[in-house]
């Protein structure tokens, strides 16, 4: 069964600094999602990574996928306060037929300090 682990669970960083959130998964998953959740709000889709070596970027966030290492990363460049949120990764559990589902990591709470 697919398990998804994120680290760190909490990240406090200064504005202008770079950092990376890691998402490891335990068995084969053919796609990886990144979501953002602002406090008290719901989840918003950021990226969908579909193949080995896939890289997607939007603004100061860049996500990549290495299916051989079973690792996805979310890199933050020159952080700004507006990026403060909880970030989740999720992989697809392959149960076959119509019953596959997303397995979520525990989330990384990012706090960007001025």
């Amino acid at each position: 069964e697919l398990k998804v682990e994120q680290n760190p669970l909490f990240l406090s960083m200064q504005e202008g600094k770079n950092y990376t959130i890691y998402c490891n998964y335990s068995t084969t998953s053919d796609r990886l999602y990144w979501y953002r959740q602002d406090p008290g709000k719901s989840l918003e889709s950021l990226f969908v990574l579909l193949s080995n070596g896939a890289v997607k970027q939007e603004g100061r966030l860049m996500a990549s996928l290495d299916t051989k290492a079973r690792l996805s990363t979310l890199h933050i460049t020159a952080a700004v306060h507006d990026l403060s949120a909880t970030y989740f990764c999720a992989g697809r559990g392959l149960y076959g037929g119509a019953t596959n589902k997303l397995i979520f990591g525990t989330g990384t709470l990012l706090a960007v300090q001025p």
């Binding site: 559990g93 119509a98 019953t99 589902k101 979520f104």
Partner: protein, 114 residues
């Protein structure tokens, strides 16, 4: 824009009460999901449905049931609420195979059982 709405943002119920959480999506999606979100545990799937009147258990179905009588509506039922069901409940929907495409989330219902 995909819209997923949930009937209440905040709900307070007493132990033993029957609780209904409603979710409606307006994009004709086949699949609908109920998750609960707890600190340090991420999102855990309670139930999902891939068609009207069809349902599948997720990872933590105990103490919950669901109903999907119409394609756009998916209800989560707590037959006899208990304090350990105090949580944030998130509804989501997507098209196609359940795990294959990004899921769109509703705003969440924060349920407190006293």
């Amino acid at each position: 824009d995909v819209k997923v709405t949930q009937s209440s943002r905040y709900l307070v119920k007493r132990t033993g009460e029957k609780v209904f959480l409603e979710c409606v999506q307006d994009m004709d999606h086949e699949n609908m999901f109920w998750y609960r979100q707890d600190p340090g545990l991420g999102l855990r799937l309670i139930y999902f449905s891939y068609d009207v009147k069809m349902k599948e258990k997720g990872d933590i179905p105990e103490g919950y049931s669901v109903s999907r009588e119409k394609k756009e509506r998916f209800s989560l039922i707590l037959e006899s609420a208990s304090t350990n069901q105090t949580s944030m409940y998130l509804c989501a929907s997507n098209a196609g195979q359940a795990g294959a495409y990004e899921q769109y989330f509703g705003p969440g219902t924060r349920l407190t059982v006293t």
